[in-house]
C-alpha cells in the first residue's frame, strides 16, 4: 500500500511525531514517500532520508516558511493528487489539526483523525480511535476513493521503531505552487507566555489534580499531599483554566510533558489530552471515585474512592 507521510518541522527541527508517522506508514506496508513542506528544508529532508523509505521530497516555497493553513493546503493538494497514494498520514499535532481537515475537504477525500492504531484487514485499513473521552475504542474504516487521509495520535507509534535504510533514501526538492496573495492568514512570530519558572520535567514525584478536586478551596489538601511526598503540584487543563493552579503547572498536550518516577493522579479522569503529558511516568497512582475512569487503564496502582477521604488517609499514613 503506497503511503505518503506529511512531515512537520518548526524552527529547523523535525517534529518527533513525524518519525512516529513514518513508523506507522512502514507498518502498513509501503512503499513510503515522505513529504516535508517548508522553506529551506532540504537539510531536514536529508535527515529524514535515514528512514527506510522510497523517497523524501522537500516541498519548497518561501511562502511555506511561516506555517499557514491556506498555504499548506494549496501546496499539498496538487502534489498529493498527482502522487495518488493509497493513504496520506500525518501526526495529530496542533498544526495538522489546523490544515489536514481542509486538505482532505479540498481533495474531497475521507479523513480519520487522532487514530491510535491501524491494521490492514482484507486489503483495507482498519483504524482504531478513541471516543467519549477515551472511555471506548472504535474501529473505523474510510469510504470512497483513495487517497484516504489519517492523522495519528502523538505517542501511538514509537518514533524509535522507524526502520532505517541501508543507504540514505533518495531526496528530491520540488517547488510548490503557492500564490502568496491567496493566503488569508498572516501569522506573527510564535512566543511563549508563561515564564516557565517551574520545570516539572525535572521533578521526581508529581501530585496532579483534576476536576475531581471540585473547588479552589481544596487545593491546599492536594498541596499537603505533595509536600508529604516531596512532590511538585501539577494539574490538568480545566484546573489551570479555572485559575486554581497556575498555568505553568499544567500537564498535557497544551502544557508540559513529564516522566517522573511517581505520578499521583487525584480526581483525573484520564482524558487523552492529559494522558499524553504523563503516560511516560514510571509509576502511576490514580485515585478516582469512578472505577471506569480511563486513568485506571494506565495506572499501576489504583484506589477507587472519594479523594477527600483517601488523600487525608495517605497523608496520615505517610507521617507514620
Amino acid at each position: 500500500m503506497t503511503v505518503l507521510v506529511i512531515a512537520e518541522e518548526r524552527g529547523g527541527v523535525i517534529n518527533r511525531a513525524s518519525w512516529e508517522s513514518i513508523a506507522a506508514a512502514q507498518q502498513l506496508g509501503g512503499p513510503v514517500t515522505v513529504l516535508l513542506p517548508g522553506a529551506g528544508v532540504a537539510a531536514m529532508a536529508a535527515a529524514l532520508a535515514a528512514a527506510d523509505v522510497a523517497e523524501v521530497v522537500a516541498l519548497e516555497h518561501e511562502a511555506l516558511g511561516a506555517y499557514t493553513p491556506d498555504g499548506f493546503v494549496q501546496a499539498l493538494a496538487p502534489v498529493i493528487a498527482a502522487a495518488a497514494p493509497a493513504l496520506v498520514v500525518a501526526a495529530h499535532t496542533y498544526q495538522a489539526r489546523d490544515f489536514v481537515p481542509a486538505l482532505a475537504a479540498r481533495l474531497d477525500r475521507a479523513l480519520v483523525t487522532d487514530a491510535i492504531g491501524a491494521r490492514v484487514d482484507n486489503g483495507r485499513v482498519v483504524f482504531t480511535r478513541q471516543m467519549f473521552q477515551g472511555k471506548v475504542n472504535a474501529d473505523v474504516v474510510l469510504e470512497g476513493p483513495p487517497p484516504h487521509v489519517a492523522t495519528f495520535q502523538i505517542g501511538a507509534f514509537r518514533g524509535d521503531a522507524v526502520r532505517k535504510g541501508g543507504a540514505a533514501a533518495a531526496v528530491r526538492t520540488a517547488v510548490a505552487a503557492v500564490d502568496r496573495a491567496t493566503i488569508r492568514q498572516r501569522p506573527e512570530t510564535p512566543f511563549r507566555e508563561a515564564k516557565q519558572a517551574v520545570d516539572l520535567t525535572q521533578a521526581d514525584r508529581i501530585v496532579s489534580i483534576g476536576r475531581g478536586i471540585k473547588g479552589a478551596e481544596h487545593i491546599p489538601l492536594a498541596q499537603q499531599l505533595a509536600t508529604a511526598l516531596g512532590a511538585e503540584l501539577a494539574a490538568s487543563r480545566p484546573i489551570c483554566d479555572a485559575g486554581w493552579v497556575p498555568m505553568e503547572r499544567q500537564i498535557g498536550s497544551s502544557g508540559q510533558t513529564v516522566a517522573p518516577k511517581l505520578y499521583v493522579a487525584l480526581g483525573i479522569s484520564g482524558a487523552i489530552q492529559h494522558v499524553v503529558g504523563m503516560k511516560g511516568a514510571r509509576t502511576i497512582v490514580a485515585v478516582n471515585k469512578d472505577a471506569d475512569a480511563p486513568i485506571f487503564e494506565i495506572a499501576d496502582y489504583g484506589i477507587v474512592g472519594d479523594l477527600f477521604e483517601v488523600v487525608p488517609a495517605i497523608i496520615a499514613a505517610l507521617s507514620r
Partner: protein, 257 residues
C-alpha cells in the same frame, strides 16, 4: 457583527458509557445530555464579541430533536436566535456530514464570523470547524485563545491568538468572514439567569430538516471497551486501609519514597 455559533449536544461526562447490542454505538437512550464544553466557550466568546461590537449571535445545532435542549440553553445564556438542523442520522454522523448540515444552515445567513469548539467530547474529530470553513469558502484558524476584531478598516478583520504545543502561542491576522475553533478556557463562562431563561422562550428557533446526507466517509465497524495496556493493581479496603497499603507498596516494593 453577525456571529453564528455551532454547538453540539453530547452525553454528560458523568454518564456511564454502555455499548449497544450491535456494538457500533453506545446505548444512549437513557443518557443525560449537556452542551459540549468547548462549544460553551465558543458561545461565551460570541456573546462577549457582540457586547463589545454589537450585532447578533445565532446558535446553530445539528442533530436529532433532543438538541433543542442545548439550543434553549444557548438562548437562555444570551444568543439572539437559533437554527436547529434536525435529522436523526446526525446523532452518529461523521465530521463531513455534520459540517455539510451546518454549512447548509449557515450559508444563506451571510454571517461575519462562525465560532465553534475545537472538538467534541463524544467523537472528538476536531474536524468540523475546519471543514465548515472550507465548505463556506472562508478563512479559518483553530485552537484560539483570544479574539480581537479590527473594525477600523473598510474591510474589517480579525487578530486571533492561536495555541501551539508546549506553551507556545502565535497571533494571526485574517479577513472576515472567518471560522474559528475555540479552545476551552478562553474566557469565564456565564450561566443562564432566570431572566435569561424566561427571555429565551420568546426567541425565534428556526427548525430546518437536515439536507440529504452525503455518502458516509468514516464508518464505525466495532466499538469496545479499551484493552488495558497495563496491569493495574486496585487497592481495596477502607480509605485508611487503602492508604496504608499504598504507602507500604510505594515504600517497600516500588521504593519511590
Amino acid at each position: 457583527m453577525k456571529i453564528a455559533v455551532c454547538i453540539k449536544q453530547v452525553v454528560t461526562r458523568e454518564w456511564q458509557v454502555r455499548i449497544d447490542d450491535a456494538k457500533t454505538w453506545v446505548r444512549d437512550r437513557d443518557a443525560s445530555w449537556e452542551l459540549n464544553e468547548p462549544d460553551a466557550y465558543a458561545l461565551e466568546e460570541a456573546l462577549r464579541l457582540k457586547e463589545k461590537h454589537g450585532g447578533e449571535v445565532i446558535a446553530v445545532s445539528a442533530g436529532p430533536a433532543r438538541v433543542s435542549q442545548v439550543i434553549r440553553e444557548a438562548l437562555a445564556r444570551g444568543a439572539d436566535r437559533a437554527i436547529q438542523v434536525e435529522g436523526d442520522a446526525l446523532a452518529t454522523a461523521d465530521a463531513w456530514a455534520t459540517a455539510d448540515a451546518l454549512a447548509a444552515a449557515i450559508k444563506d445567513e451571510h454571517v461575519d464570523l462562525v465560532l465553534t469548539g475545537l472538538q467534541s467530547d463524544d467523537q472528538g474529530f476536531a474536524q468540523v470547524g475546519v471543514v465548515l470553513a472550507e465548505r463556506l469558502g472562508v478563512a479559518h484558524s483553530t485552537i484560539i485563545m483570544e479574539v480581537e476584531v479590527d473594525a477600523s478598516n473598510a474591510a474589517p478583520g480579525l487578530r486571533v491568538k492561536r495555541e501551539l504545543e508546549g506553551g507556545w502561542f502565535q497571533w494571526i491576522a485574517m479577513p472576515l468572514p472567518a471560522v474559528l475553533t475555540i479552545q476551552s478556557g478562553i474566557n469565564q463562562l456565564r450561566y443562564a439567569t432566570l431572566k435569561g431563561i424566561m427571555a429565551a422562550k420568546k426567541k425565534a428557533v428556526r427548525v430546518v430538516a437536515a439536507p440529504a446526507a452525503p455518502a458516509t466517509r468514516q464508518r464505525i465497524t466495532a466499538i469496545r471497551v479499551p484493552e488495558k495496556s497495563k496491569a493495574t493493581r486496585v487497592i481495596g479496603g477502607s480509605p485508611t486501609e487503602a492508604a496504608k497499603e499504598l504507602v507500604r507498596v510505594l515504600r517497600d516494593e516500588v521504593r519511590v519514597l
